[in-house]
């Protein structure tokens, strides 16, 4: 299959899978809450890339519109997540972030 920009869709799927997996890896690998958080953003972006790729290949704008929703949600999540972080920080009154490490799994 040869789409207009000459790159097979498989490549994008693999790229997205790789990025997604790296995101998952980060979530599992790291203990630092904020990095886990960033890795989740990475996962969402992997999804976005794939959506845009599919959208281009299927010639259907809905995929790209969906990306906007994901972006909106990501922004909302970041706002809330960081607010939670700040709240925790204020409670402990310390710059030591170890408090987050009660999160064990």
């Amino acid at each position: 299959m040869q789409p207009q920009n000459g790159i097979p869709i498989d490549y994008y799927i693999w790229l997205a899978a790789a990025l997604f997996t790296i995101g998952v890896l980060g979530v599992l690998y790291r203990r630092n809450a904020i990095i886990i958080f960033m890795c989740i953003e990475l996962m969402l972006n992997a999804v976005n890339v794939l959506l845009v790729a599919f959208s281009t290949y299927l010639n259907d704008a809905a995929g790209q519109v969906f990306v906007f929703f994901i972006m909106a949600v990501a922004a909302a999540e970041v706002a809330v997540g960081l607010a939670i972080l700040i709240m925790m920080y204020r409670n402990t009154k310390t710059t030591d972030i170890n408090i987050l490490n009660r999160l064990k799994w």
Binding site: G63, E77, I84, R102
Partner: protein, 457 residues
């Protein structure tokens, strides 16, 4: 649809209440509004209408679950009225709750992956915040953060799944997807199945099925009790409704792909959740595990016959919601300001406050599935369905786990009736007493005349 608008409008009204200074009447307005929404749901009954380019479809399934969500929310507002008595953020909290309810309604009525996704996110984001609404309490903070991280993580999986499904079928409309799958059976790309499974994982996080449940106990324990009550009723209803909708419509034809996986998840959920619940010292945490366990029963019904199980699941959830609300209502009263819900706290509750004790007892009995309470009929329907579909070994597993369930529920009952009271009598406001009586009556009524709800779907 109109109910959805009403709920969103109520959320905005409660934000306006902060500015326009009518906080006092806010709860009354919300209750009236929700009643109105319920009436709208009833009025829409038997009219399967698709709205806005098929974004939402309010058929009887959606309406029933929407009604259930609204009903539970109404009761929840009553049980959790103390939650809104706090000095700060009264209106914010109620607005968030209402938005969460709106999200839940979307999750029951979506017909497009975008609506599912947004519904889940509206619900989740509101709850992340509500989970942390005891701001000075580190446990609550931790709950919020953990819920947040795991919720977002699950969202990632869900989205990846949606994307792959979209890539394979070229649409986000679930009925179109279902048709596509039906007409293109055998020629679907393999990543369609991967997408379905990733969505399964994502939704399993949301309904907190083992092994994707590990966030649930911590979050349930850390959150304010009222919010936990909300999570374990309204949220659970919405999550399961969306799970059902996706897998019974979209992926119904590829059932062999997910059947075995879901079967394993179901058994694990039943066994692990119920066994772990036994070891909990906090009643809240125990209820958290039990709520995970209940998902197992629902999954059992779903697996037995995923197309026809909606009525069973609906009744199970209704029964579970009522009992759960009663339990959490009692928990809020017993836990007091410091939200201490250790089992010891319940010692001698029968002597300290018989009404609360009896209410909690009936709730727990119903959760344990003792006839003639609704919880029994829920379980009965599930078992009957499973037996009818030849899943007797799994029914045996479910029976054993529900016996384990009896064990841990009865620990609380024993504490209430058998142990000596450690504290002075528990004073409870009249409205709360009335509430408990009402909840008891609803529970009993559901138990004695369950037919209406069972036949609803």
């Amino acid at each position: 649809m109109n109910a959805l608008f009403v709920i969103c409008g109520l959320g905005i009204i409660s934000l306006i209440a902060e500015i326009a200074n009518f906080r006092k009447w806010l709860i009354s307005i919300i209750v009236l509004g929700l009643l109105g929404a319920a009436a709208l749901v009833v009025a829409d009954w038997n009219t399967a209408v698709a709205y806005y380019h098929d974004m939402l479809v309010f058929d009887n399934f959606s309406l029933a679950f929407t009604g259930l969500i609204i009903g539970s929310s109404l009761l929840w507002f009553w049980t959790a009225s103390d939650f809104f008595e706090a000095l700060f953020h009264k209106t914010d909290k109620s607005a968030l709750i209402l938005f969460a309810i709106a999200g839940g309604v979307l999750m029951t009525s979506f017909n497009n992956m975008a609506m599912l996704f947004l519904g889940i996110e509206i619900l989740s984001i509101s709850l992340y915040v509500l989970a942390g609404s005891r701001k000075e309490d580190l446990g609550s903070n931790e709950a919020a953060f953990k819920y947040f991280l795991m919720g977002s993580f699950a969202t990632g999986f869900l989205l990846f799944g949606i994307t792959l499904v979209y890539g394979a079928t070229g649409t986000f409309q679930i009925n179109t997807i279902a048709n596509y799958v039906l007409t293109h059976a055998g020629e679907l790309p393999s990543f369609f199945y991967a997408g379905a499974l990733l969505m399964l994982i994502g939704l399993a996080f949301k309904i907190s099925a083992v092994p994707f449940h590990f966030w649930a106990p911590d979050v349930y324990e850390g959150s304010p009790t009222a919010v936990t009550g909300f999570m374990s009723t309204v949220v659970k209803i919405a999550a399961i409704a969306s799970f059902f909708k996706i897998f019974a419509t979209c992926f119904s034809t590829i059932a062999p792909v997910w059947y075995t996986i879901l079967l394993v998840i179901m058994v694990l959920t039943l066994v692990i959740a119920n066994i772990t619940a036994v070891y909990q010292n906090s009643v809240k945490r125990m209820l958290a595990y039990s709520s995970v366990g209940h998902v197992g029963y629902i999954l059992l019904a779903f697996l037995a016959d995923h197309k026809e199980s909606d009525g069973t699941i609906f009744f199970y959830l209704a029964a579970y919601a009522v009992s759960s609300l009663a339990a959490f209502g009692a928990l809020i009263l017993v836990g007091g300001k410091e939200e201490n819900t250790l089992v010891e706290r319940f010692n001698g509750l029968f002597k300290r406050n018989p009404i609360v004790a009896v209410g909690l007892t009936i709730a727990l009995l119903s959760l344990a599935g003792i006839p003639p309470l609704p919880g029994f009929f829920g379980k009965y329907l599930v078992f009957a369905m499973a037996i009818n579909n030849g899943m007797i070994p799994y029914v045996i597993v479910a029976i054993v786990t529900s016996l384990i369930g009896v064990y841990y529920y009865f620990r609380v009952i024993i504490a209430m009736y058998f142990k000596d009271a450690v504290a002075e009598p528990l004073k409870v406001s009249t409205s709360k007493e009335v509430l408990i009586v009402v909840l008891i009556l609803i529970t009993l009524a559901l138990g004695i005349f369950p037919d209406f709800l069972i036949q609803l779907l």
